[in-house]
Symmetry: C2
Subunit: 342 residues, 2 copies
């Protein structure tokens, strides 16, 4: 049975959301969940859940908690018995297949990298985000913040990892890969993207060349590769714009009585809409390239988001996605290309 | 009277939108407009407009047109009698105060830089974009695509130019300036932003430090400074997301009969909403740092967008914004800071 270590203390609503999500996942997906955190908090909380007793859920004690306010690097060094670190250690020691956490993103990334270690051939793990598109297909944006000042070689590795995720987890056939730039022409871009273009062309990927910011939501490609600084800016600006749109629509729809009536009717439609763009359905952001798997959820994750993250983590482990990443990268390593310093 | 040279052949709907916009601007704002383009096309078109005869609008012949498909650099070199080049020459020769064009953005930027030249002290002109925020205040995002691989010094100059634009044109008192990064803490960011942070702190600006992508739409700052690669990605991803949202709402609101009824009532609200996020109200993107002024409109600009761009160009000229940019930069140039190689 696939076993996922869940950092039960990480999120803003921890441990309630985490425990509810674990119960739902264990019930629905046949996954064994190890709840990691303060046992004196977790034990009574878990006992209160109906029917939880019969499920494959266990509690593993960790005495410390990394908070959202903690400096990531410092917390990783100093809090050696934190729930996220103990969870990562379970993967390292072969006791769990992967980790899910809604905690401090920087701390989770640093811990996973240090404790779980990396898939052979991967230079740097990258954080991916799955976004909705106009064609209804999911888009993998990679990297969204794990690495800045990326080299062309790192960008090419992100493409390999993103392709495997899109194919294996999102079931995209022959994913189309684009390199984010400021125009589709070859000469457009910055130093790193211009150098990455040739490298990406040489890989056995369905690479379509440069794409623009607009293509994040167009559905014309399945994976977009970019520096983590740029991906993070796109992702957070998108969250900000979504909030602005929501606010403007609400204001505009309550301006008159007739409109308020329209709004009442339209409300169920908005609920649908919200569900379609709801991050909690996509199951968090996978940190690709680490051993096992590490899914990082939004701090404000509800039980549904945690449940879906556990589902994705289990699928990732079952499908041996890391083996595929390793194979792709090692095949690349044997190509004449690798002889050149990149 | 302020005189604006309008590239009448540039946009997707040229010259109809351009001529209508010129007529409206000349009528409403007391601006003299020089329509630049093929006189055999422009003369009969202008003659068809009611009441245009009495307005301060003149036609200046230019025999060539740079198309959207033209390679920008090549077009600038080879089409020496293009409407955009003739328009820029009018500014250079003191016959117009500024240029407005809805043509090929790359070609307009290159032409303005080469022909109009730069404000003393400016290293690189930067393209700014004005965006709506949740607090109703406008946000200046600079640079959105004129420069990639920006140095810390360039980012600091963008801050100076963006501050003047926000204060003088958008009437923001003491604009709050943020540096786009991937976290608000000092150590967050890439090499360029970390180096720019100290530089920005040393300037006499209301600098608030690092901000995140989310702040593009939060209204918590008035100017956000970033590399043109990043700004372009944010801007285009935002356009893509806006289209996705529009499509999703339409689909969701026409799913059932009751909802269609709700949609009918909500339709006028959507029209309001559209107007609030309509780029044509903000008057295009100013290329800051060139002599005179150059406002670049969206290729699909309608008459209203052209009219507003002419209004902004005239305000820019009247307020002597460039003089303020020059003064700020020269004051900076005299500070001990400038002695250090940046």
């Amino acid at each position: 049975m696939v076993t996922i270590a869940l950092d039960a203390m990480g999120g803003d609503h921890a441990p309630a959301s985490e425990i509810d999500g674990a119960v739902q996942a264990a019930r629905s997906y046949g996954v064994r969940v190890l709840l990691v955190g303060r046992q004196e908090v977790l034990r009574p909380e878990l006992a209160r859940r109906n029917g939880a007793a019969g499920l494959p859920i266990e509690i593993l004690h960790a005495s410390e908690v990394v908070t959202m306010e903690d400096n990531a690097a410092r917390a990783v060094r100093s809090k050696r018995d934190s729930s996220i670190r103990v969870a990562a250690r379970l993967v390292r020691d072969g006791l769990a297949h992967g980790v899910v956490s809604a905690g401090n993103t920087g701390a989770v990334m640093a811990t996973a990298k240090m404790i779980q270690g990396m898939v052979p051939g991967v230079e740097r793990p990258a954080l991916a985000s799955v976004l909705p598109t106009r064609k209804g297909t999911p888009l993998v944006l990679i990297d969204v913040g794990a690495n800045v000042d990326c080299t062309p070689r790192m960008l090419a590795q992100f493409a390999v990892m993103g392709e495997v995720y899109s194919r294996v987890i999102l079931k995209t056939e022959r994913p189309r890969i684009g390199l984010l730039s400021i125009g589709t022409e070859e000469q457009k871009g910055n130093e790193a993207t211009r150098a990455a273009l040739g490298l990406l062309r040489s890989l056995p990927l369905n690479f379509v060349g440069n794409v623009e910011g607009r293509d994040v939501y167009s559905g014309d490609v399945d994976v977009i590769v970019c520096d983590g600084f740029v991906g993070n800016a796109i992702l957070k600006a998108s969250e900000g714009l979504a909030e602005l749109v929501k606010q403007m629509l609400r204001e505009t729809l309550s301006a008159t009585l007739t409109r308020r009536f329209g709004y009442l009717i339209a409300r169920s439609a908005f609920a649908d809409f919200k569900k379609r763009v709801d991050y909690s359905e996509t199951g968090g952001a996978p940190l690709l390239g680490v051993r096992g798997v590490c899914i990082i959820c939004h701090g404000s994750s509800n039980a549904n988001a945690i449940k879906n993250a556990i589902r994705i983590a289990a699928e990732f482990a079952r499908s041996q996605a890391n083996r595929q990443i390793e194979d792709e990268l090692s095949r690349w390593g044997q190509a004449p290309l690798a002889a050149k310093p990149l």
